[in-house]
Symmetry: D2
Subunit: 346 residues, 4 copies
Amino acid sequence: MIKVGIIGASGYTGAELARILCNHPEVEISVATSRQYAGRSISDIFQNLRGKVKVICENLPVDELCQRADIFFTAVPHKTAMDLVPVLLAAGKKVIDLSADFRLRDVAIYEQWYQPHSSSQLLKEAVYGLPELYRQHIAKCRLVANPGCYPTSIILGLAPLLKADAILPQTIIADSKSGTSGAGRAAQIGTLFCEVHDGFRPYKVGRAHRHTPEIEQELSELAGQTVSVTFTPHLLPISRGILSTVYATLAPGVNRQDLDEIYRQQYAPEPFIRLLEDDVFPATQFVRGSNFCDISFKIDPATHRVIIMSAIDNIVKGASGQAIQNMNIMCGFQETAGLGIVPLFP
Amino acid sequence: MIKVGIIGASGYTGAELARILCNHPEVEISVATSRQYAGRSISDIFQNLRGKVKVICENLPVDELCQRADIFFTAVPHKTAMDLVPVLLAAGKKVIDLSADFRLRDVAIYEQWYQPHSSSQLLKEAVYGLPELYRQHIAKCRLVANPGCYPTSIILGLAPLLKADAILPQTIIADSKSGTSGAGRAAQIGTLFCEVHDGFRPYKVGRAHRHTPEIEQELSELAGQTVSVTFTPHLLPISRGILSTVYATLAPGVNRQDLDEIYRQQYAPEPFIRLLEDDVFPATQFVRGSNFCDISFKIDPATHRVIIMSAIDNIVKGASGQAIQNMNIMCGFQETAGLGIVPLFP
Amino acid sequence: MIKVGIIGASGYTGAELARILCNHPEVEISVATSRQYAGRSISDIFQNLRGKVKVICENLPVDELCQRADIFFTAVPHKTAMDLVPVLLAAGKKVIDLSADFRLRDVAIYEQWYQPHSSSQLLKEAVYGLPELYRQHIAKCRLVANPGCYPTSIILGLAPLLKADAILPQTIIADSKSGTSGAGRAAQIGTLFCEVHDGFRPYKVGRAHRHTPEIEQELSELAGQTVSVTFTPHLLPISRGILSTVYATLAPGVNRQDLDEIYRQQYAPEPFIRLLEDDVFPATQFVRGSNFCDISFKIDPATHRVIIMSAIDNIVKGASGQAIQNMNIMCGFQETAGLGIVPLFP
Amino acid sequence: MIKVGIIGASGYTGAELARILCNHPEVEISVATSRQYAGRSISDIFQNLRGKVKVICENLPVDELCQRADIFFTAVPHKTAMDLVPVLLAAGKKVIDLSADFRLRDVAIYEQWYQPHSSSQLLKEAVYGLPELYRQHIAKCRLVANPGCYPTSIILGLAPLLKADAILPQTIIADSKSGTSGAGRAAQIGTLFCEVHDGFRPYKVGRAHRHTPEIEQELSELAGQTVSVTFTPHLLPISRGILSTVYATLAPGVNRQDLDEIYRQQYAPEPFIRLLEDDVFPATQFVRGSNFCDISFKIDPATHRVIIMSAIDNIVKGASGQAIQNMNIMCGFQETAGLGIVPLFP
């Protein structure tokens, strides 16, 4: 059993790591940290984990932490991560960072959207942890920048089409809808039950959401040109799930059969991508709790646009599940180890 | 008191007409029909109406119906409406039809999306009941085709910009999300609680939804040219509300101040349109139960696109509330009579 | 128009007062206070009120407040209320206090459940504001202690039976379920969307909830003897509504017809109580947004117990609506003025 | 691998059997039936199962069915089950029946609540499949009557106390709240999203629910005397979960320590029962998707009553999970095989 540490175990992504890892055949959670809940067991904070996760949260200096595990998940806010990660790496540990700190390769863009970066020397080394695109690099790296939830849903939907030049990159519009767990577990009026329930709203409209540069970085890489997207996030009255509806104009001459073939070639071997048949569309409830990304598309013949739809569980494939998929690759485990969870419906 | 009849009182829009009309100062519900619930009081079917609505549902031939009211709401499925409406008009009654039967002015388009039309002679006469666009015509007509819910939200958001040539009409994409009451009260697996709750999905993607030609008819009229839109409906796990997020490329040289001015000029006097300030976005929960349409917009500078957001309650401004607004105009009442209901939040 | 002041306008009950009062024919909101949101309009905090409520929140000393209105609603936490109310009364104002500070007539009991009472001289004078029981007293008083939400639902269900000695008072068990708005608008982890949604739980079980002494005081008064009840509150994943299921053993010889008659005698004239027929049970969704209390009962023949069910909207009949009903009585308005709102369903 | 058959695979309990069994280490689903969906794959009906369950639904005569599996789950309506089960048993198969047909040992009571029984000879043989009470019998039987969802939650909460004579059996009141999946997947108006969402209601109050005799049979068995309970079911706006709040008067002299000890003795070794600490109460969201039953209790000192609270997932421990637990026992597998699913929160 390999020993894994969860740094930041009292948020939803930390708890989700614990939920999945406690049934993982190759690892054990040897340490978990939480400043706020030090001394309390994880299953005390998250009563669903009772009887399954025995770990007590600790508040440890990073050098002590290093002695307690072989591989670490940093499920902490950005800024905190950039200070921790270099120390863990220097101690010879592998790190999967769930914050935004190592996702953007261009430090200037990072600093424009976030704040000054104290570990920018690692930006080149960090591998963007989307296994469907970067599996080979992940297998050999020691630092994975685990993708954001919105970017995961949008990039997985678009990647095959951009690689195949099947769409015009400057026409991309991503209309995304996320469950409320994406906002985290901080006590805020905006995410109180009564504010969210039985309602729906957009937020951070018009290049205001910090996932925008991450999406554009990856889409530009895939398109081989600088891509600007219009990205609109919305808040759904559900706990888990992101559904992205992405619009793009088809390249001249491209038709439905072409797209079918492109998706199949790229994704048929992927264990966590489910391509849906024609006229079957993804739904967040069918990926709930699982590491699947469901994808389908439809062409609007009158406008020659394609509508690509993808659904993930934002805290599984959009965060903790994908992080464990990355760990599996980094450690040479079977990529699906511990991730065979069937989506929960209804 | 003018006597009004509700034909089709046992669906959600019928019940909503009753909810609003029972507090209306100028009218009384003199007759209500339901084949399925004949003999039962409306407040028996919809227990919220207990003590407020005393009417008993009847199953009457249309000629008897004509003797029981001065103005009729036909809240029946399309096809049924087209057979009823001519008889009511011939008896000298005013009619607000909530079905789709009289919304499309081109009978060929109607028949392509629905079925043969038995009353196509009335298509020219029927006035599309969007008061913000056609108030003068509504005041003088005897037949209003009450708009669909999705079209109401999309057209109200776009109308000022299309009239002012502020956007490029061929770039319009409407990503709409609707509460489940839009699917009606028929017993179907797809709208069972367990199928919808805690989930989200698109449906009828890619020119498959029957509101598409209605949207395109009205946008084309406003743009002065044939407009094709990409329209994607989604199902929200909420009871009431539609939020449309509409994308379009700005005409060259148009900026935020222009749009502000355009919206203000068109909508400042409108009693049921609330323009939101910069960086305040509409939310379905803030229009719940009311006849308001909340609108705001945001420009994405990198792509020169504008994102227009509008929220309505789909069974008020998107159906029964707008129908009563039309009735008020047709009868010379104050346009807001009975419609002063404040949105219910939380 | 009488001038009313809302002290504490930024909570859910404050907003609900504004929602109802803005359509009230006899009063206008002349002042509203909020420490946290001073300078911002109420409709800025609660966007549903946009266009309906123009008042700006202020942070005023109580003596200035006194000059701004004739009657005050104190929608502030307990402890805060007990300091404010004497000053308002001394200035000749009428007060409806929505806190718990003046509900318990016995200061010892108050201090056992809350904290020391600084205005205990007013406890005798304050009238418990349940119009169905104390209408005559309310009409003549200057200080109403507006009942708690759970007590309203439980007391209204039991009052006729206790008065008529139809049940054994020592057998009462009240199993109550409340929507989340009852927890207020404070930012807390426990009422975040993700913690409450798609879940259900009891809380403060076994004489731990502060509404217990209030319920027992009123039931004892009605029974003419000291009554101890077992009261269990639960948290529902809905915004509004309380449903209380109350169990009691019938007095010997009492049957269904007796209970029917007892309820009808007491409640038939009540404008806000709706007695349901046999085998029709109340539901929170049928009183949503309204001042109604729906009541029905059923006898379990095998155990000679009666099950009494009552449903209210916790922030209308359970708080702000009842407060306005009390205001109407105190001011000599029609008791239903402004309260004709039809429940919103679906 | 043992071959298992699911008879009635297109309902929620059938789908849930498939969800759990597809990850079970000892069995494979070799046949599944559905009249309505014959020819379609289960994962077509329940898209969550896509990629995990490959079985195609068939509509087979029972004799052919017998050749296709070694053990059968009958997830069909009562009445249908009583005709199928004898044939399966005669063919030497083991059967776990999820209907009500073999739960009541007294045929007269069955026929009073349901309809004439065509296989009453099996009632004596069938073992009531609550492993925590009847594990030894289950291990040796060929027919398990899988318990109802409400009875599971109520009986598990009460069993230790009744066995230990710690409560007075005639004082039991069970106030239960269930998620909507308990109503099944039939298209009905009453369980449409808009009818259930954001609402709460009791139903079948006062000895009207068919789970009443099942509860009384088992509680009487445990108490060693005939027990009548008052049982009130309620409908929660959640998909999964039952929370039962059960009231009983303590036997003289019994205190908290006694109860602690009684529960610990009985349940400490149980793999699927989690006893919560003092002042921690169960919640449906913490057992969601799992086979756990969470239990805690609280004493109301003023009335000498105990309040027992238990939470299960109604379609796991309340149906399909418990059925698989029974299969594990019948087949000599580890009792927890395939049932290690961690509850999904949030």
